[in-house]
Symmetry: C2
Subunit: 340 residues, 2 copies
């Protein structure tokens, strides 16, 4: 293939986002096998950890099978060329977790906040820089902010020390034009690499990622077979094939990457993610896909259709962490006589 | 949702293309259950039959579980609002099969040919018109022809009596700009509705279908959960959600469609289709996805990597029916010393 477009750096959170699909139960052997295969294929960055990042293993969101330390040191042993990355959400992780992560060989740490709350990333971005690791800022549920707001929030994170910024389509709500407008606004506002992290709820993860690249994103997140929360992430090996077809170099050996994806399907996942009706409803409504279980339970209890409940949650603009709104919304729908 | 864009007619071949994924083993109960659910949701056209169409049940491509007559009459009993469609490939089906199909209540018959061989559709398009059914012409493996060629071939089919034309992305090879250019050329050349039938090998089936609509297509094929050959078709319920989001009416009740897709996943398929490495390789190379089994066998025997074999078959521009080229290509690769 002739490389005519800009080079794209692929960031691979298979061993972190995929954890959501299996209640954070990856063991050391699985992590070693996939990290080695991704490294062999030349994947530039491999992210490892609990689905919710450093320090998140807990009763509330689920205990990891093995500790953060064991996950990181296992991957570190086999990553010879790939950088190792970790995610952290202030509230779950502390500065101690960051120090611990860097001690175990993490090269890149991403600090994530809700799309309008970049200010909460300030302290930890600073700590990461002090520790000498690469610091990146992440905005979650980014469809809930408009392009200018996102650009402003990204600029704040860069001010705090972020050497890269990333917008997450946490609900899988975007269509390509939505992504293009946001990435264009962000790339105009900051002078660090801009990344996009897609989910496939509307079947658009690859198309959205290409729209991001066309609008100036230079880093794209993608997971083997799309292994990730809900409908899954952008499918890594498919993305790289399409990028190559469009003339964007990635430095990845696509044949070896296909082998790595085959291995991932075999050793990491019960089945690859697909788009079920609940994922579709949450993506369409712009609701956090982690709400699937409580929403199904509340819909059942109140006798309303899950589809209508997701639409109502979307209208209420609920954000991750607002699980308590779900039963209320279901009861209100039932009271309004919305039929199942 | 406000409907601002043109109305799109969704053509649903779940009960025909999905047969490829299960060796044509749908029984009457399955057909009845899904056809009734699709009808209830308001899907305008439901296509039923053997994966290769009327008269194709055979040792060579696999025997259907039940006869064409039983499939059609079963679906006919429960389709109250939806039109019933059938596919036919000259060579498999004869004029007798067409008469039989219309007698069993088929409203629409599609006659399919390789993308450069529209002339073979002439006789059967005429027979369908004589029988008083709606006649449509289909071009298979349409990525192997350029926009002008496709437009020419479509115009020929309209001359023969086609009241609609459809281009199939049989290999799942297209990216949105490829589809847009072709549909635009065809809509400029013919005055009948233009349809697009996508496969998801490059994760682009929904995005490609949207590109088709934007370029003037007024009919889009899509299957519940994408149930279809190889990596599957455009996912019906996802497509309708995205079309609604973009302001295109479909006349379909999305909530009932989601229920129909849930039923389809439960009663029709072992698992919904996903994009495996072989599907990706065949999509990228533009090779007919039905070549999966013989290609894997030939690669194994010759000791070459399936990925390289698909690339070689793509370079040789093999078309459906040229299975005999596969072992030759594998042996040639092995002789050139291409390593596994």
């Amino acid at each position: 293939m002739t490389e005519t477009g800009p080079v794209v750096i692929v960031h691979d959170p298979t061993l972190r986002d995929g954890q959501h699909a299996i209640r954070h139960q990856l063991d050391a052997e699985q992590i070693r096998a996939y990290a080695a295969a991704a490294d062999a294929a030349g994947v530039p960055v491999v992210e490892v950890g609990h689905g919710n990042g450093l320090g998140a293993s807990s009763y509330q969101v689920g205990h990891s099978k093995i500790s953060d330390e064991e996950m990181l040191s296992t991957a570190r042993e086999v990553l010879t060329r790939s950088k190792m990355a970790a995610l952290m959400l202030p509230g779950w992780a502390t500065s101690d977790d960051l120090r611990n992560a860097v001690r175990h060989g993490v090269d890149v740490v991403r600090v994530a906040a809700h799309c309008t709350e970049a200010t909460v990333t300030e302290r930890h971005l600073g700590v990461i820089r002090e520790l000498g690791a690469e610091a990146q800022g992440v905005l979650l549920m980014s469809h809930m902010a408009d392009p200018d707001q996102l650009a402003e929030q990204c600029a704040l994170m860069v001010e705090y020390g972020a050497q890269g910024v990333c917008v997450f389509d946490s609900a899988g709500h975007y269509l390509p034009q939505d992504v293009g407008a946001r990435i264009a606004a962000i790339t105009a506002a900051v002078d660090v690499p801009v990344a996009f992290h897609g989910h496939n709820n509307l079947g658009m993860a690859v198309a959205n990622s290409i729209a991001a690249v066309e609008a100036g994103a230079r880093v794209i997140d993608a997971c083997a077979r799309g292994f990730g929360a809900g409908a899954g992430n952008t499918q890594l090996e498919v993305l790289v094939a399409v990028l190559e077809r469009l003339g964007h170099g990635t430095g990845i050996d696509l044949r070896l990457l296909a082998d790595a994806a085959d291995l991932a399907e075999r050793v990491l996942m019960p089945t690859p993610p697909t788009i079920d009706s609940v994922s579709l409803a949450s993506g369409l409504s712009g609701v956090f896909s982690g709400f699937k279980k409580p929403a199904l339970a509340a819909a059942e209890l109140a006798g309303v259709h899950p589809w209508d409940l997701f639409a109502e949650l979307g209208r209420r603009r609920v954000t991750a962490g607002q699980e308590d709104v779900i039963p209320d919304a279901a009861r209100d729908l039932a009271a309004q006589g919305v039929p199942r």
